[in-house]
Symmetry: C2
Subunit: 420 residues, 2 copies
Amino acid sequence: MVTYNLNLGWIADDEANEKMAEAFGNLVYEREKGVAGYYNLPENSKLIVSEVEAYAASNETVQRCNTVVVIGIGGSSLGTKAIDSMLRHKYPHARRLLFLENPDPVDLEAKFSSIVKEKTLFIVISKSGTTVETMSIFKAVIAHFDLDLDGKDKERIIAITDEGSALCHFVDRHALKAYTIPHNVGGRFSVLSSVGIVPLTLAGYDTCTLLSGAAAMVERFFNGEEEHLLIKSAFIAETWRDYRMNVLFAYGTFLEDFTKWYVQLWGESLGKIDRCGNRVGPTPLGHIGSVDQHSFLQLIIQGPRDKSVTFLKVENFENNLKIPDIKLDYIEKSDYVNGHTFNELINAECDATRESIAGEGVPVDSVTLDKIDEADIGELILYYELLTSLVGAMLHIDTYDQPGVELGKRILVKKFQKAR
Amino acid sequence: MVTYNLNLGWIADDEANEKMAEAFGNLVYEREKGVAGYYNLPENSKLIVSEVEAYAASNETVQRCNTVVVIGIGGSSLGTKAIDSMLRHKYPHARRLLFLENPDPVDLEAKFSSIVKEKTLFIVISKSGTTVETMSIFKAVIAHFDLDLDGKDKERIIAITDEGSALCHFVDRHALKAYTIPHNVGGRFSVLSSVGIVPLTLAGYDTCTLLSGAAAMVERFFNGEEEHLLIKSAFIAETWRDYRMNVLFAYGTFLEDFTKWYVQLWGESLGKIDRCGNRVGPTPLGHIGSVDQHSFLQLIIQGPRDKSVTFLKVENFENNLKIPDIKLDYIEKSDYVNGHTFNELINAECDATRESIAGEGVPVDSVTLDKIDEADIGELILYYELLTSLVGAMLHIDTYDQPGVELGKRILVKKFQKAR
C-alpha cells in the first residue's frame, strides 16, 4: 500500500479548482484519443509478460544465461534500472541486469570485462534505432564479443524499438527476436512497455504484479479516487515560479535510481515553452536520506524559500539489522538509538527532517510505501507519470515532446563531418 | 593541467570589481588568521602521507589487507569517494575502498557480506565522535565482525576525529591508532586532511602528488594568478537570484561522485541566512553526460532561464576503445562516428551540448582536465573550495557553519526518548 500526505501550506482557490477539473478532462481525452499511450500499458503489457515467460521457459539460450545486458540510454534504461535497484535485494537469485548506457570508454570496458558471452542475453533498446550512443555501444558489443547475428548468437540478441523504425528493419533483415514500443509512448513514459517489461521479466521479477499495481492506480485515478494528485499538481503548476525546485528526498540507498528516473520524467516533460511562448517548468532534484541530510539539508532549511520537498519512505524494510546495545566509553551520546533497528533509525531521521523542514514553512509532502513490493512500485510509477501529465496540462505545454535537444544533436553530427 | 573557460555573458562593473577585491582580501585574512584551515592542508598533510606510508610499509596487518572500509557520512566520506571513483580505473591493484555511510540496513548488509575481516582495515571518521549514523554503524561493525578492540583486532581499527572529541577520548582509552582533523577544517572542506589522505594513502593512491596539485593552486590563487575564479564567484554572487541553480554537467561516469561532493560543498556552505537576515544561496545540481542529455537537457534548453551550467570534461581518457567500423543494414544514420573512439564521441557530445546551450544564452563555463591524474584532481578540489569561500564572502555569510541542520537532530533524539 502507498499512502500520500500533503502539507503544502496551500489551499486551492476557485481558479485552481477549475484548473484541476480541466486537467483531469485533458487526461481523460489523452487516454481516450491515444495522445499518450502510457495509460494503457498496465493492461496491455500483461500479454508481453506471458509471452516472455513462455519464451524464457522454453528457450535453452535464455536458461543458460545469468546476465541480461540492456543497451540503451535515458528512457530506454532509467526506469528498468530504478525497478531493478528497488527489488534486487529481495531477489538474490534474479539474473543480473547490466546497463550499457554512457558512451564512456572507461565505464564500458569495466562492464565488458564482467560479461561472459555464453551466459548473457543482449537487449538493444532504441525507439528510433538511430540513437548514436546506443548504436555505437551496440556495435562495440558486436565487435568485442564477436556476435554472430545470423548464426549461433541469434538467440542471444533481442531488440526493442518502434514499429517501422530503422532498428525494426535491421531486426527483420536478420530475423532477430524483437518487441515493439507503441508509437504513442515516449521514452520517459515507457518503463511499463516492452522497454522495461522484457528485461525485468527475463531477469525474473514478478512483472505481472508490477503491472497490476499500476493498473489499479490508473483505474482509481480515472474514477476520481486520487484527489491528492490533482491538488499536488495544481500546487506545483500554480507556485513553481516561487518554488522553482522540487526535491525528492528518498530514504534508502536502493531508491537512488528511482530519483534519477523521476528527474528525467519531470525534466524532459515539464521544461518547455508554453502555448503563450513562456519558458516554464519546475526543476526536479533527487536526494538520498539520510546521507544528504549531511549535505543538502542546510540549503533547504536556511537557504532561499524556492524549493518544495517530497519525502519518499519505505515503512518496512523487512530487515531486522539492529544497532547493537554496545556502550563505547565516552561516546555514549548516540546510545539513545541502541537496541533499535536501522530501519527505525533511517525512518525516524526521515520524520525528524520532514518535521524540521515543515516547521520552517517549506511546502512538504510524503509518499510512503508499506514495504517494497512489485504492486507498490507499479503504483508509484503511475503516480509520478500521472502527476507529470497533470502538471503539463496545467502549464499548457506539450508534455510528451522534447524539441530542445535536437540542436545539440545536429551540432554533434557537424563536428564529425568536419573531422573527416 | 586544468583549463578554465568562462562564457557567462556577464561583465563585472565597478561594484563587482570592488566585491572581488574585498572577497580576495577576506580569503587572505581567513588564511592568515586560521578562520578556515583548509588553505594549509595541501602543505600540512604531506606529513600525514609520509607517516601513513611508513606505517603501511612496516605493519603486517595492513599488508594483509585488500580492503579499507570507511565508516563515515557526509564530509567524512564524499570527498574520498569522489577521488577513489576518479582514480580507480588507473589503479587496478589499489586496495578496495568500501564506504559505510547510510544507515540503510539493506545497503549495510549487502556491504557486510562482501567484507572478509582478516583482510580489512576499518577507519571510523567523525569530527565530533557523536554522529549518530556513524557511531551506530561502527557498533554494528563491531558486533557483526566480532572486533576485539583491546586485543587481536586493535591494529585493524583506525579513528579520524577532532582533538579532544568524544571519539578521541574513546581512542585513547583503547590505545587505538588515530589521526586528528584540524579544528578549523569543517567536514565538507576536509578531504585533503587526514579524513581523505589516510584512507586514500592506505588504498595505494599517490596522495603526495594530489596534495602538490592542490598546493600549487593555493599558491597561484593567492599570488593573484587565477582571476577567472574571482570573476566566476562574482557572477554567481551577483546573479544567483536570476540563475538560481548551477548545474555541474560532468562528462564521464567516474565523475558522478565528484558532483556529489560539489553538491555538498555548495549546499551546506552557501545556503545560509546572510548578515542582513536574508535567505541566500544558489542551488547546486550534479548531472552526468552524456546520459543526462537524454534527461535534464530539455529543461535547460527550453525551461526557465534560471540555471547556469558548468561543463566538467576530461580531454584524454587514456583509453582507445573504438566505435567499430561496422555497417548495420538500415541503421546507417549513426555511422558518422564509426572508426572514432568513444573518448572522441563523449567529448564531442560535451562540446555540442555546450554550444547549443550557450547559443540559447545560458551562462556557461568549462573546467577541462587534460587527463585524470592526482595533481589535476588536487587542483580541481581547491578550485571548488576557493570558489565556495569566495562566493560565501561575497554573499556575506558564514561559509563554514551549518546551523540549519541542528533542529532535525534534536527532533530525532526526542523521537527515540518518547519511544522508551
